[in-house]
C-alpha cells in the first residue's frame, strides 16, 4: 500500500511513514523522533501526548515544514511534505509553543499582516482580521499592544494568527501550557468550536486531563516513538480492572510481598509508591492490607481508582506523566 493510494482515500489529513529526525549532539547522533507512523482523520481533534522531550514538538515542526525530516515520508493536507512544502504551508495553520505575536504591535495589526503574508490584499486582510477578532472574542483588546494582553488573550491571538487563511488543518503545540485553569478551559472551548466549523486539529500536550477531555484520538509518544494509539476510552480500556495505589515506606519490599499474588495482574513501584493493577479493587484491598501487615511494612496511604491515561502512560513507559509535570 503506497502513500499515494492512501492520499486518494477520503478523509486522511495527516499520514506519516517512518518519520525520523536525528540531531547531532556532543555524544553523537540522537534520534528525537525515531520512526513515527500515524494517521489523522479529517475533522478530528488528534492529540499527541507525552512528556517534555518525547519528540512531540520535533514531529510537529517537521509536519509544518519548519524542520526537514532525516528520513521517512509524510502527507499533510493532501500534499507531499518533502516535495510540496509550499503547498503544505498554504493549507495548514500552525501555532507554536511560544506563540509568535510581536509584543510591540497591536493584535489587529498582527492579524492583518499575517493575512497579507498569505496573499490577501489589504482590504481583504482587514476584513479577515475583524472576523478573527470577533471569532476569538478579542475585540476589546484588538487595538492595544500585545504586551498588555493577559496570557489567555495572547494565546487566543496566537491561534488567530494560525487561522488567518482559513486552513482546514491546524497544528497547536502545547496550546494551554502556562495558562490558568479558566484560560485553559476557554482555549478548549475555542478548539471544540473550530472542530465544529470543520477544522481538523493536531495538538500536542503533556496534560492528561486535556488529552482526555479534548482529543478524539491520541497517540502517546515517548523517546521519539509512539507507544500507544487510540481514543482515550480505548486506551484506558486496555488496562482492565482497577488501580490500587499504595504509599509505603519501602516500595521494593512491598513489591516483593505483593507480586505473584493471584489477584495482582501487574505491579509497578518506585520511591515509596506502588501501583497494583487488579481485577476487583474491593476484594483486593483487604488482601493487600493483610499481606503488607504480615510482611511488617508500614502503610501510609491506600486508594483505588479507575485506570487513567496516566496508567496507560505508566504501563507503556514505566514512568508517570503526572510526576514529570509536577
Amino acid at each position: 500500500m503506497s502513500l499515494r493510494t492512501d492520499r486518494s482515500r477520503a478523509g486522511i489529513m495527516v499520514e506519516t511513514r517512518g518519520l525520523r529526525r536525528v540531531f547531532s549532539s556532543r555524544r553523537g547522533p540522537v534520534a528525537a523522533v525515531a520512526g513515527v507512523d500515524l494517521q489523522v482523520e479529517e475533522g478530528e481533534i488528534f492529540g499527541f501526548l507525552g512528556p517534555n522531550g518525547a519528540g512531540k514538538t520535533t514531529t510537529l515542526r517537521m509536519l509544518t515544514t519548519l524542520l526537514p525530516p532525516t528520513s521517512g515520508d509524510a502527507w499533510v493536507a493532501g500534499c507531499d511534505l518533502r516535495r510540496q512544502p509550499r503547498q503544505v504551508r498554504e493549507r495548514i495553520g500552525y501555532v507554536g509553543q511560544t506563540g509568535g505575536a510581536d509584543l510591540q504591535v497591536t493584535g489587529r495589526r498582527e492579524l492583518v499582516f499575517q493575512s497579507c503574508l498569505y496573499g490577501m490584499g489589504p482590504a481583504e486582510a482587514r476584513q479577515r482580521a475583524a472576523e478573527l477578532l470577533s471569532l476569538l472574542d478579542l475585540e476589546e483588546c484588538a487595538d492595544r499592544r500585545v504586551r498588555t494582553y493577559s496570557g489567555g488573550q495572547r494565546r487566543r491571538l496566537d491561534i488567530g494568527l494560525g487561522l488567518a487563511h482559513r486552513p482546514r488543518l491546524l497544528f497547536l503545540d502545547e496550546p494551554t501550557t502556562g495558562l490558568d485553569p479558566q484560560a485553559r478551559f476557554r482555549i478548549w472551548e475555542e478548539v471544540r468550536h473550530l472542530q465544529q466549523l470543520g477544522t481538523t486539529v493536531f495538538m500536542t500536550t503533556h496534560y492528561l486531563d486535556e488529552a482526555d477531555a479534548l482529543c478524539d484520538r491520541l497517540a502517546i509518544i515517548d523517546h521519539g516513538r509512539i507507544v500507544a494509539e487510540g481514543t482515550p476510552q480505548e486506551l484506558k480500556r486496555r488496562i482492565a480492572g482497577d488501580v490500587v495505589t499504595i504509599g509505603v515506606g519501602d516500595s521494593d519490599r512491598a513489591l516483593v510481598a505483593l507480586a505473584g499474588q493471584p489477584f495482582v495482574r501487574e505491579a509497578l513501584g518506585a520511591d515509596g509508591t506502588v501501583r497494583l493493577y487488579v481485577d476487583r479493587g474491593e476484594t483486593a484491598m483487604p488482601a493487600i492490607l493483610r499481606l503488607l501487615d504480615g510482611a511488617g511494612l508500614q502503610l501510609h496511604a491506600i486508594s483505588m481508582s479507575r485506570p487513567s491515561l496516566d496508567d496507560v502512560f505508566l504501563r507503556q513507559t514505566g514512568r508517570s506523566l503526572r510526576e514529570q509535570a509536577a
Binding site: 509550499r86 507554536g96 496573499g119
Partner: protein
C-alpha cells in the same frame, strides 16, 4: 511579482515598527550629535597640522561620522532578529508561504532607509557648524552610506542567525567592529598615523569608504579614491547580501 509584494510587506511592517517608536530615532541621533558638539571642535586646532586633509575640521569629521553611523547602526540590527527568533515571530512567518528572501530583504531595506534618513539629518545639523557640501556630493554620500548599511546589516543578520544569542552576538559584533572603526580614520585622519598603522589600515575596506566620503563632500565626485571606495563597498555589500541570503535560506528554510 509575489516575491516583490512580500519584500514590500516585510519592509512596511518593520518600517511601521520603527515609526511607531520615534524615541528610537532620537536615541540613534544623540550619539552622532554629541560627537559633533563635543568632539569635532577638538579637530579645529588640529586642522592646521601638516598631514591633516584639506577642507576644514567638519568636512574631515562629518563624512567619517556618517561612515561610523553606517557601521554601528547596522551592525546591531541582528539584536532584533535574535529577539524575534526567541519570541517565535520568525517561525510564525516561516510557516506561511512568504518568500524567505523577502524576510531578509524587507528588513535590510528598512535598515538602509533608516540609516540614510539619519545620515541626512546629521549632515543638515552639521551645516551651521561649518560643514560645506556639494549637493551632488551629498546624494553620493547617502548612496555610500546605503551600501555600508547594506553590508553591515547583512553581516549582522548572518551572525545573528548563526549565534542566536544576544550575549555572544554582542561580543562578536562589537569586537570586530571596533578595529574596523579605529583603522578607518574616522576619529582622526590616518594621514596623521605612523607608517605601520597606515599600512595596516590599507587592509581595512572601511578606510576606503571614509576617503571616498571626504572626497564627495568636497565635490571631487570622480576622483580615483571615490571610484575605489564606492566599488569596494558595492562589491562587499553584494557579497554580504548573498552570504546573508544563503544563511537565511538554510536557517529559515
Amino acid at each position: 511579482m509575489k516575491p516583490l509584494i512580500d519584500v514590500w510587506l516585510v519592509f512596511e511592517r518593520y518600517l511601521g515598527l520603527l515609526l511607531r517608536n520615534p524615541a528610537w530615532l532620537a536615541t540613534a541621533l544623540v550619539q552622532p550629535i554629541l560627537y559633533l558638539v563635543l568632539f569635532a571642535p577638538l579637530l579645529k586646532s588640529l586642522a592646521s597640522l601638516r598631514g591633516f586633509p584639506p577642507g576644514g575640521a567638519y568636512n574631515v569629521f562629518v563624512p567619517g561620522l556618517l561612515v561610523q553611523l553606517g557601521l554601528f547602526g547596522s551592525a546591531s540590527v541582528g539584536f532584533s532578529l535574535i529577539a524575534e527568533l526567541r519570541l517565535g515571530v520568525v517561525e510564525r512567518m516561516r510557516v506561511t508561504p512568504v518568500s524567505r528572501l523577502a524576510l531578509l530583504l524587507g528588513r535590510a531595506l528598512r535598515d538602509v532607509l533608516n540609516l540614510v534618513v539619519q545620515a541626512l539629518i546629521i549632515t543638515l545639523i552639521a551645516i551651521p557648524f561649518g560643514l560645506r557640501i556639494h549637493p551632488l556630493g551629498l546624494v553620493m554620500m547617502l548612496g555610500l552610506v546605503a551600501l555600508i548599511g547594506l553590508l553591515f546589516a547583512s553581516l549582522s543578520y548572518t551572525v545573528a542567525l548563526w549565534l542566536r544569542n544576544e550575549d555572544s552576538f554582542a561580543a562578536v559584533v562589537f569586537t570586530s567592529a571596533l578595529p574596523l572603526l579605529l583603522l578607518s580614520g574616522v576619529l582622526l585622519p590616518l594621514t596623521l598615523a605612523p607608517a605601520w598603522l597606515q599600512n595596516v589600515a590599507r587592509a581595512n575596506p572601511l578606510a576606503y569608504a571614509v576617503n571616498a566620503a571626504r572626497a564627495v563632500f568636497l565635490g571631487h565626485l570622480t576622483q580615483a579614491s571615490v571610484v575605489q571606495g564606492v566599488s569596494i563597498m558595492g562589491a562587499l555589500a553584494l557579497a554580504a547580501l548573498v552570504l546573508a541570503a544563503r544563511s537565511v535560506s538554510r536557517a529559515l528554510a
